[in-house]
Assembly symmetry: C2
Homo-oligomer: 197 residues x 2
């Protein structure tokens, strides 16, 4: 009998490397040759793990989402009574925003949205992302029960937008780290509470 199939293990091993390559160079400029070289394998090995380059990219989208959720979930488990989960999330993102290159992969994908598979993968990611944020905001508002807070769903989209513009500003060097943190903190608070600081 033959040896046992290790395709899944290999996929898990190489996916972070693949994702980082796409994050650094975008979708089109990342060549399959470069992916193979970074992974330390020949190209056809990648093609045994995924049917084509597009599938590698879609897998990378899933990976960065899973990575974010894993980090956030760990963060939310650390009980801290002073701050709500939403506040801790915002504070964390203000500090570590875009550390992996999450948004670079998203931007790369957003240039390929006429491909239905890529569009679907991105849409799915955004839905989950927003839902996660919305739940934290709703929980925060319930705990603080202010009189007039923004609709949690809308506020969640706005927080996603806030993170996006913060990523862009980091990418383009538009704001200093300090200003970016202030942006996340003050506007984040406004979106959570429904009133300025």
């Amino acid at each position: 009998m033959p040896r046992r199939n290790q395709t899944n293990e290999k996929r898990r091993e190489l996916l972070p490397i693949v994702a980082r390559a796409f994050a650094e160079r975008g979708y089109r400029r990342t060549t399959t040759a470069e992916l193979a070289e970074r992974c330390g394998v020949q190209e056809n090995i990648l093609y045994r793990l995924w049917p084509d380059k597009k599938a590698m990219f879609i897998a990378a989208i899933g990976y960065v989402y899973d990575l974010s959720v894993a980090i956030w979930s760990r963060l939310l488990k650390e009980e801290e009574d002073e701050k709500t989960a939403a506040e801790r999330l915002l504070a964390y993102e203000a500090e570590h925003l875009g550390e992996f290159g999450h948004s670079r992969i998203v931007f790369a994908g957003l240039s390929e949205t006429d491909d239905p598979d890529i569009q679907a993968a991105l849409a799915d990611m955004y839905q989950r992302y927003q839902r996660f944020v919305r739940e934290q905001i709703a929980a925060h508002q319930a705990r603080r029960h202010k009189t007039t807070t923004p609709d949690a769903a809308l506020a969640a989209w706005a927080v996603v937008g806030l993170g996006t513009v913060a990523s862009i500003s980091r990418e383009l060097g538009l704001l200093s780290d300090r200003q970016r943190r202030r942006l996340m903190a003050e506007i984040g608070r406004l979106l959570l509470e429904g009133s300025a600081a």
Copy 2:
């Protein structure tokens, strides 16, 4: 003597077509052959107008910015005493957001930010964009002089982020037109006023 040089006129004539192509297909996937075909000329004619494909793209970035500013400026000149300029701007964007594909060009560019020329062009565009919005917000706040409004510079970045996420949601079909308008209206108001509706 030779005929007179019409390079500038030709550039102005073709630039909207070039920009639309980049908006629809992204930077990498737009081939110079396709650009030429859409423009109804041969490729080398484009290369007489711009040194290379990258220059065509950077020109397209400038074009979509100029176009937005032209539209907004016209909008702001129409005097309307009920609403401030900032409110009209938000209302307009809620309705016509991304009509030309402004954000698609930006996303395409954001996948190419390791090229210093493209990065500089995008950074310049964002700076001007944010400054424009900030001025409108500051004017709005001065007119309404509420007690606690968000810092205009931060609010302007947040509005940029709000527009970005609204564009993304439109691109990916995440929100209905109605929901998207509500997002722009309610969160926009929150960012301007510093308090929920």
